[in-house]
Symmetry: C2
Subunit: 433 residues, 2 copies
């Protein structure tokens, strides 16, 4: 069973918006053994959308088209579907009432232009939209079952769960021959290069192997992707687990976790397990480490808080970093990073604190401290309440955004290693001082 995904919108064809819906849909379909043959993007052009729908309806069993159901004049998908099918647009009274109610609930008058969203090509079923005003559409046309959903990701996701998934469940139940189980898992690492990951994985990466193992680099993380494909779902799962566990064992402490597990979530998990609270003192990362930690729901029990001491006076007045230290060594230096961490530890009452100071660029670099130079210090309570600090130097590649992102992730991984009782030197990118 093959699918085609059509993403509709000028902003996609012109590259003004990145199409995230196709990846999400492909992942959802792949997990059920349905392979997506094409992602195609189409402009807000009624004849082009109609032509694409006609073509896709002959090429695939399942067509999911997203976008072009909004209330404005550049939303043309429902009109194009009517053209492709050779039918007229008709108004659905129940949908018109539902749209009116959506606005009434929010105490707003319905803009008249929203009424177009109650129309559909004759013969289509309308799909309820649980988080917006545009209903979706469903129709069997040529070889394919066609679903049309809004392009707003949250509305698409809800409609997939509510209407598309139940259809696929029913289909799989009635045609077991269609089913082949494809299970995937991703193992995410931070602090090791792609070639080194491949060396450690060795023969697990053989292309003839099932489960199949590959690697991908994104945002400084190297991820190991595992794909297990078998007729028997239990076999697919046990083989997947076996390969994933073996890969994780070979990679060691740099493994953050599986699938969508993020580095901040992995850190929060360890902190919760160890009942340890952290605080942050940030300069070049400007709040990014705190932001990453508080992205995680439930982080409030392990995150005391943080300081963004961008100006030197703030480092001194708020964290007690002696101004002489800053003058003597510079704001980007080992002693200042350590003093920031120690100040944050003392003032927050946390068990563990991190201090980060560096040159994120694009300006500010010198020969001795080029852009990408970042000091990360950890402060923690040793025996008798005295604070111990330790620091590492990083020379990070990339532009301002990349340097800040990697610096924040190095800080998170160092905090995680410390909380786990693993040496921070396992983070190979750090230069020991």
């Amino acid at each position: 069973m093959h699918a085609i995904i059509l993403s509709i919108g000028d902003e996609l064809v012109l590259g003004q918006t990145v199409d995230t819906n196709s990846a999400w849909l492909s992942a959802a379909l792949a997990s059920r053994g349905i392979m997506t043959r094409f992602h195609e993007t189409i402009a807000d052009d009624q004849p082009a959308i109609a032509e694409a729908l006609r073509w896709a309806s002959k090429e695939a069993d399942l067509v999911i088209a997203t976008g072009g159901l909004g209330p404005t004049d550049d939303d043309l998908t429902r009109q194009a579907l009517a053209d492709a099918m050779g039918v007229a647009l008709v108004t659905d009274e129940a949908s018109a009432a539902a749209i009116g109610e959506y606005f009434a609930k929010r105490g707003r008058a319905m803009p008249p232009r929203n009424l177009i969203q109650a129309k559909h090509p004759a013969g289509c079923a309308m799909l309820p939209n649980s988080c917006g005003t545009a209903p979706g559409l469903q129709v069997k046309f040529n070889r394919a079952m066609i679903f049309v959903t809004p392009g707003v990701p949250s509305e698409l996701f809800a409609m997939y769960r509510l209407s598309i998934e139940p259809y696929l469940d029913e289909l799989a139940a009635s045609q077991p021959a269609l089913r082949r189980t494809i299970l995937t898992q991703k193992i995410n690492t931070f602090g090791i290069g792609e070639s080194d990951v491949a060396e450690k994985l060795g023969e697990l990466m053989d292309r003839q192997r099932n489960p199949l193992v590959g690697t991908t680099v994104a945002d400084g993380l190297v991820s190991v992707r595992i794909r297990s494909e078998f007729d028997d779902p239990r076999k697919a799962q046990s083989e997947l687990d076996h390969t994933a566990n073996e890969a994780a064992r070979r990679l060691g402490a740099v493994v953050i976790g599986r699938d969508s597990q993020t580095l901040p979530a992995a850190l929060v998990d360890v902190l919760i397990a160890k009942k340890a609270r952290v605080a942050t003192a940030e300069s070049c990362t400007g709040g990014l480490v705190a932001k990453f930690i508080t992205d995680v729901a439930g982080s409030s029990s392990v995150f005391a808080g943080g300081w963004v001491t961008y100006a030197n006076e703030m480092k001194s007045s708020q964290l007690g970093v002696p101004m002489e230290l800053i003058i003597e060594h510079g704001a980007v230096s080992e002693p200042v990073a350590k003093a920031m961490a120690a100040g944050a530890l003392e003032r927050s009452g946390a068990d563990l604190a991190v201090g980060i100071t560096g040159v994120a660029g694009p300006g500010g670099g010198t020969e001795a401290k080029p852009v990408g130079t970042v000091w990360v210090a950890l402060a923690h309570r040793a025996t008798e309440g005295a604070a111990t600090t330790d620091a590492r130097l990083f020379l990070l590649p990339g532009d301002r955004e990349q340097v800040r992102d990697r610096a924040a992730k190095c800080a998170l991984q160092m905090l995680r290693f410390h909380a786990m009782g693993v040496s921070i030197d396992e983070l190979r990118w750090a230069r020991k001082n």
Copy 2:
């Protein structure tokens, strides 16, 4: 002239990674009048990649394939191109030396597997990679000029500038008939809904109009997209400017700026112009406002720093918020937001400070203060150095990530309005207290 973009990688077909390269390439090509007909994604499967290259080489004048040039066994694009062309892979000695040098410069031994990156299908030119080890490939095959680049975005972007763009320049110079100028501009707004934007734009959104005007919603921002297409480049530019200026005039203060201008960058611009420094006191946004501001290069001159007072003790000990206030009104309340802003203003010495406290979810909501309840307060120096504070209540939709993102953006837009001398009530989403 038409292009096809092929994105190669299991992670794309399985939806584990979002394809951002296609959007970037489409935008780069569109700005030169080259329309991308298809984005196609293909798995790490040698025959499938070969078949896609063969098909695309007959359908388009320009084919750009990204991904599958890495050093591991799942990188198969160069082998597939050799298959498609019916030629052998040969080693390029200059590339082998360059790859060895890349590792030598970084003080590391070259992993033997990286040598595959020095191979290319006979007859292809190799394209230098200025920020990685994998050279690209270029070859005229069937109707198309084919470029193959690495999938790592930074390497693709550099290779496009270095090798693909000069080829397109030369082509346009030799075949003026191919040239048709398509210019685009995006006007970004924050704080107004899509239907309201459409009402204000009125007849500018007529689909017969050139320049063509559409709207898109992403990350809480409504963007107006303008596309101007003429033979004469000067006419295309003047018509684009005219429509863009008229649209911006109709929309007013909610307009952040054009194209890639972000809300934080717009705020930093205003602060620089007004010589005003800001400080941040964040609870539910956990550092996100500070992160947004310091994303902007050059923000150090207008950003004093900030506090992430996640725990109530931190609000009290670091910002001087009276604990009785927190007990009486709750941490998410107007008085606490105001006290946070006032504390940050006083302690930082900045001209303007923002305090944010709210319920980001998923837990923590109550009937009186549901998830999405956020108070944003501004503190600024009035005459005689006394601080004045003002606060607004927001009821923000969405999940934890969305509530935090929108709350941070509301804070940035309120800071921007205040610095511009515009009433913060222009931010229509705020509920006046």
